[in-house]
C-alpha cells in the first residue's frame, strides 16, 4: 500500500467527541475577563444564588445544633454502639474525601497530561476539593468523643509522656488528610494569584482594590513571574498526583489493616481510589451543570467538558463494578467461611436494600453513559450524577455497616439504626459545603481567566493574529 493509499484509508468521518469545541466562538481576551470577573465585581447576584445560599444556611443551622449536641452529650446521640462503632461519621468522612479527589485529578493530573480542556473547570473543581476535605475532616474529629483534645493525634512534646503510634493507619490518616488539605489549598491559591490581580485591576472602589491587591501579593504578570508560576504549578501538580492516590489508599488502610471480613482485602486501595474519582466527577457535574445555566457560561463550560467528565465517570465506574464482582469471587475462591458469610449476608441480610441500591446506582445507571446523548445533555447527566453520589455514599455505608454488624461472636450481633442526629449531621455537612461553595462563586473567580485565554486561537503569536 502506498503512502497516499494509507492516508486515504485513514480518512474517517470526524469523531463527534473531538469535534466538540473546548471554548465557544467569538471570544476575545477582553470578553473572557469581563465575563468571569463581572460575576464578582458588577453583575447582580442572581436569585438562584440567594436561594441556594439560604438553603445552605438553613442546613448549617441544623449542623450547628447537631454538633453542639454532640459536644454536650457525646457520640451516644448517634446510632453507633458496639459492634457497629463506625456509623455515619466514618461513612461521611470517606464519602467527602472521595469527592475531593476528582478536583485534584482535574487540576493536577490533567495538567501534567496537557489536557487543555481542563482549564475552565479546574478552578471550581479544586475549590470543591478544598471544601469537601474540610467537610470530611470534621467527621473523624466529631467521632473522637472528646473533639476538644483532637491535638492528641499529633506528635508534640507533652506532659502526659505519651506519643502517637506510627504503626496505626489512623495516625497515617491524620498526616495524609492534613497534607492533602494543605497541598490542595496551596495549589488552588497559587493558580488563583494572577486572576486575583485581574480583579484588583478592575476594582471600582478602594476596599475591593485593597482586598484583592493583598490577596494577589502584588502580582503584575511579568514574564519572569509567569515562568516561575508555571514551574511551580507543574511541580505542585507532580506532587499532588501521587498524593491524591495516596490519600484514599491510606483511607482504605483504615479498613484493610483490620482483620474484619469485608474489610481485610488487598483490592481496597485501587477500589477506593477509583470510587473516589467516580463520585468526585459526579460532584463536578452536579456543580457545573447548574452554574453554567445560572451564569450563562455555556461558552466556557461546553458540552465537551460534560462529555469528558461523563467518560471519566464511566471508566472509573467500571473499575468499581469490577471490584463489586471480584469481592464475592475472592470470598468463594479463598474458601474462608467468614468471608463467604459476609458476602451472603450483604446480598440477602438486613442491609440487602443498601447493597442492591448500590448496584443500581453505581453499576446499572452509569451504563447510560455509553450513549453520546446521555453524556452531553445536561439534565439526564445531572440526575445520573446525583444517583452516583447517592450510590457512593451508600456504598461506604454498606462496607462499614455490613462488615461490623455481624461480629465473630454471634452473641454480640446487632444492627445499626441511624438516629435523627446522624441525619442532621450528614445534611448539615452538605450545607457547609453548599455555603462555602456559594461564597466561593460570589467572591473568587470560579473559572481561571488566564488559562482560558491561552485556549483562544490568537493567544499564541504563531497561531496568527486575527481577531
Amino acid at each position: 500500500m502506498t503512502v497516499a493509499e494509507k492516508q486515504r484509508h485513514s480518512v474517517r468521518a470526524p469523531d463527534p467527541d473531538v469535534a466538540l469545541p473546548v471554548i465557544g466562538p467569538s471570544q476575545t481576551f477582553g470578553t473572557v475577563t469581563t465575563q468571569i470577573s463581572s460575576v464578582i465585581l458588577s453583575r447582580k447576584t442572581p436569585w438562584p444564588w440567594w436561594g441556594t445560599f439560604a438553603f445552605g444556611l438553613l442546613l448549617v443551622g441544623g449542623f450547628t445544633v447537631a454538633v453542639t449536641w454532640v459536644f454536650g452529650k457525646g457520640v451516644g446521640i448517634w446510632g453507633i454502639e458496639i459492634p457497629v462503632a463506625w456509623g455515619f461519621a466514618i461513612t461521611n468522612f470517606v464519602w467527602w474525601i472521595g469527592i475531593g479527589h476528582a478536583g485534584t485529578l482535574i487540576s493536577a493530573f490533567l495538567l501534567l497530561l496537557n489536557q487543555s480542556w481542563r482549564s475552565s473547570i479546574n478552578r471550581f473543581a479544586e475549590a470543591m476539593t478544598i471544601f469537601a476535605v474540610m467537610c470530611a475532616g470534621m467527621f473523624p474529629l466529631l467521632h473522637l468523643g472528646r473533639p476538644w483534645v483532637f491535638y492528641w493525634l499529633l506528635p508534640y512534646p507533652n506532659t502526659m509522656t505519651i506519643q502517637p503510634q506510627f504503626r496505626s493507619p489512623l495516625v497515617w490518616d491524620v498526616f495524609a488528610v492534613s497534607t492533602y488539605f494543605t497541598v490542595s489549598l496551596l495549589f488552588w491559591y497559587l493558580g488563583m494569584i494572577p486572576d486575583l490581580a485581574t480583579l484588583r485591576d478592575r476594582a471600582k472602589n478602594r476596599f475591593v482594590y485593597g482586598l484583592y491587591g493583598v490577596l494577589c501579593w502584588g502580582w503584575r504578570g511579568s514574564h519572569r513571574h509567569w515562568k516561575l508560576h508555571e514551574t511551580a504549578s507543574i511541580l505542585l501538580a507532580g506532587l499532588a498526583t501521587p498524593l491524591v492516590l495516596s490519600v484514599h489508599t491510606v483511607v482504605s488502610f483504615d479498613f484493610t489493616i483490620a482483620i474484619l471480613p469485608g474489610w481485610h482485602s488487598t483490592i481496597f486501595p485501587p477500589y477506593f481510589v477509583a470510587g473516589a474519582i467516580f463520585s468526585g466527577f459526579a460532584m463536578v457535574l452536579v456543580l457545573a451543570i447548574p452554574i453554567r445555566a445560572v451564569y450563562g457560561l455555556h461558552n466556557l463550560l461546553t458540552e465537551r467538558h460534560l462529555n469528558n467528565c461523563a467518560k471519566l465517570m464511566l471508566a472509573t465506574g467500571l473499575i468499581v463494578a469490577y471490584t463489586y464482582a471480584i469481592e464475592p469471587f475472592t470470598a468463594w475462591y479463598g474458601g474462608n467461611q467468614f468471608e463467604m458469610y459476609m458476602v451472603h449476608n450483604r446480598a440477602v441480610g438486613p442491609y440487602a436494600w443498601a447493597f442492591w441500591t448500590v448496584i443500581a446506582c453505581n453499576v446499572v445507571i452509569p451504563q447510560l453513559l455509553w450513549f453520546y446523548k446521555m453524556r452531553t445533555r445536561p439534565k439526564p447527566l445531572f440526575w445520573i450524577s446525583i444517583a452516583i453520589l447517592y450510590g457512593m455514599w451508600l456504598e461506604r455505608y454498606m462496607i462499614i455497616i455490613t462488615a461490623l454488624h455481624r461480629d465473630f461472636v454471634p452473641s454480640s450481633w446487632s444492627n445499626f439504626i441511624a438516629t435523627g442526629w446522624d441525619n442532621i449531621t450528614l445534611y448539615g455537612s452538605i450545607g457547609v459545603f453548599i455555603l462555602l461553595f456559594m461564597l466561593f462563586i460570589r467572591f473568587l473567580p470560579m473559572i481561571s481567566m488566564y488559562e482560558v485565554k491561552t485556549l483562544l486561537p490568537f493567544s499564541s503569536p504563531g497561531g496568527g493574529s486575527e481577531k
Partner: protein
C-alpha cells in the same frame, strides 16, 4: 525630552501578543537585558529570551528531602527512643509502617517550598511597583500586552529605545516614572 521625575522605563503597549514578541526579540538582540514583558497570560514565545537559572526545582527538591528526613527522624525518635511500645514483638524501628508518613511529609514540605519559593523568587509580596504608576497598566492583567525597557539598563538611551519600540507600531509608548 527630559521628564521632570526620574524615569523608570519606557513602556510600549500592544493589543496583540505577536508584535510584543517581535519587539521583545528585537530589544533583546540589540543587547538590552533589563527588559520585562507584562502579559495577561503566559506567552510561551518569550521563554527563549529568559536567561535566568531555574532555581525553583532545586528548592523543591531540598524541601522534599527535608520533609522525608523530618518524618523519619520524628518517627524513629518517638517509636524507638521517646516512647517505645512493644506491639506483638515487632521491631521498634518498624520502618515499613513509617513509610506513609515519610511520603506525606515529603510531599507537604516540597509543596510548601514550591509555593513560598515561587513567591520569593518572584520578589513577592510587593505592594507597590513602579509599573503601577502607569494607569493603563491595569489592562496588563486583562487584554493588553506591555513591554518595558528599564532605564537602569547600562545601554539605555531614551530616544533610541523609543525609536526601536515605535517600529513595532504599539498603541502608545509611555514614560513610566520612578519613585
Amino acid at each position: 525630552m527630559t521628564p521632570a521625575v526620574p524615569l523608570y522605563g519606557l513602556v510600549a503597549e500592544f493589543d496583540d501578543p505577536g508584535p510584543l514578541v517581535d519587539a521583545a526579540r528585537s530589544v533583546h538582540d540589540k543587547g538590552y537585558r533589563n527588559v520585562e514583558a507584562y502579559t495577561p497570560y503566559q506567552v510561551r514565545e518569550l521563554d527563549e529570551l529568559l536567561e535566568e537559572k531555574p532555581w525553583l526545582p532545586l528548592i523543591v527538591l531540598i524541601g522534599g528531602i527535608l520533609g522525608f528526613l523530618t518524618a523519619w527522624s520524628m518517627e524513629y525518635y518517638i517509636a524507638v527512643i521517646d516512647y517505645p511500645t512493644n506491639i506483638g514483638g515487632r521491631p521498634l524501628n518498624s520502618w515499613p509502617s513509617f513509610i506513609v508518613i515519610m511520603f506525606e511529609l515529603t510531599i507537604l514540605f516540597a509543596s510548601i517550598f514550591a509555593f513560598f519559593g515561587m513567591l520569593t523568587l518572584c520578589g513577592l509580596p510587593l505592594p507597590h511597583h513602579q509599573m503601577f504608576n502607569l494607569r493603563r497598566f491595569a489592562r496588563a492583567s486583562s487584554d493588553h500586552f506591555f513591554l518595558c525597557v528599564e532605564a537602569r539598563d547600562p545601554i539605555f538611551n531614551a530616544s533610541a529605545v523609543t525609536e526601536l519600540l515605535a517600529e513595532f507600531e504599539p498603541l502608545q509608548i509611555y514614560h513610566v516614572e520612578d519613585d
